[in-house]
Symmetry: C2
């Protein structure tokens, strides 16, 4: 993990060039900003090279990038831990009509409680949240909070392997997307919740990805483009 | 221009592979979405390859990408044409504490009125809006509208040639940035207006780019991180 190894990464950087490769854009995560701050403290000059990122590549779903509000993250809920800060952020975005990109949890290098307790470095298989799991958790929280930020009939687009050769988009209501994992296929997944200010060009583009075009058209005419 | 040449671009695409290269991410602009829609009508399969984009590369200024609201565009004002729709968009972003990326106008292949009238294909030299011009126009519109969306003391970051070897950031108040073009150097420029919910990590990172660290600290403590 970068967080715990930044000293190691920067150790020889005073005297030689050190390159650090990341997935996506280097400044998509706070972690890397922190690494630069540490380099500055040590007077180590840095140069960052931008890369394609889900933050911009998501435009391939047909929703215009300049109509997105803040990006939120969704983590795997546990029985006694269901962090819902995403809900208020989505509420803010929707209050001004904007789309929301939801980035989904990735669990790698997880240890079981037993292995952790015994100090065994045995890790569980990696887990990647799916669009179906995300849509389900979103609806659970709306059910709890009942502020009407979104609902089972709200339109969204599920995205899988964006930018890859097998990139796939599936559009539908949140209710429909709960069952879209089979259509979407393997990870990584992301989800975009439509903002009410969505434009007709966006509607037409995304409609092509709709699980059921009649459902899409009906939900659109009831709630969007106003 | 893509808008007028999409038929030409798609002409032979039924029978052979056609590649279309763009600056930045292909879906950063509505134009390219439109091109895909036309390809679909002709049943031409497409594959888009994502690229680094100012929409994500701007993270190098130290402000976190997930704290950005909608992106706005600023065009060159004319004596009788000062489109200010950006103002309401920024107002929305600021109402929920978010940063705003402002993309600056580029004028290429412009004709003088005389050359246009005479049908002469003679073009003016390209013009690229600078951070100074943008900050000036923003303050003019606030002066007109007086809704207090931002002001001369609001903090912002000017960005030049983002992602290039000579990338440069200059941070300061909008008033200061009116005179930052010399520091920033040649185009392309962009500007980011800070949201009130800016985090201390963002403050520290961007402070390094400040024209005057005392001014930066004072403006911050008065208006931000609350």
């Amino acid at each position: 993990m970068v967080e715990s190894n930044s000293d190691e990464i920067l150790r020889d950087a005073q005297s030689e060039d050190v390159a650090f490769l990341v997935v996506g854009d280097p400044f998509g995560a706070t972690t890397h900003t922190d690494l630069v701050l540490r380099a500055r403290e040590l007077s180590i000059p840095i140069q960052a090279i931008p890369n394609a990122s889900i933050m911009s590549a998501i435009g391939a779903c047909g929703l215009q990038l300049y109509n997105f509000g803040q990006t939120v993250s969704m983590v795997f809920f546990l029985d006694n831990w269901r962090p819902a800060s995403f809900y208020d952020r989505i509420k803010e975005n929707r209050s001004i009509g904007l789309h929301t990109l939801v980035l989904l949890d990735i669990k790698v290098k997880e240890q079981s409680l037993e292995n952790m307790a015994r100090g065994r470095r045995i890790y569980e298989p990696p887990r990647y949240m799916t669009v179906g799991q995300c849509a389900q958790q979103m609806l659970e929280i709306e059910e709890e909070k009942k502020e009407g930020v979104y609902g089972p009939k709200s339109l969204a687009i599920g995205a899988a392997r964006v930018g890859g050769r097998t990139e796939k988009f599936v559009a539908g209501t949140l209710q429909q997307l709960c069952d879209a994992d089979g259509l979407l296929g393997p990870p990584l997944h992301s989800l975009v919740l439509l903002g009410s200010r969505a434009h007709e060009l966006e509607r037409d583009y995304a409609r092509d990805f709709a699980m059921d075009k009649d459902v899409w058209d009906r939900a659109w005419s009831e709630q969007y483009g106003k």
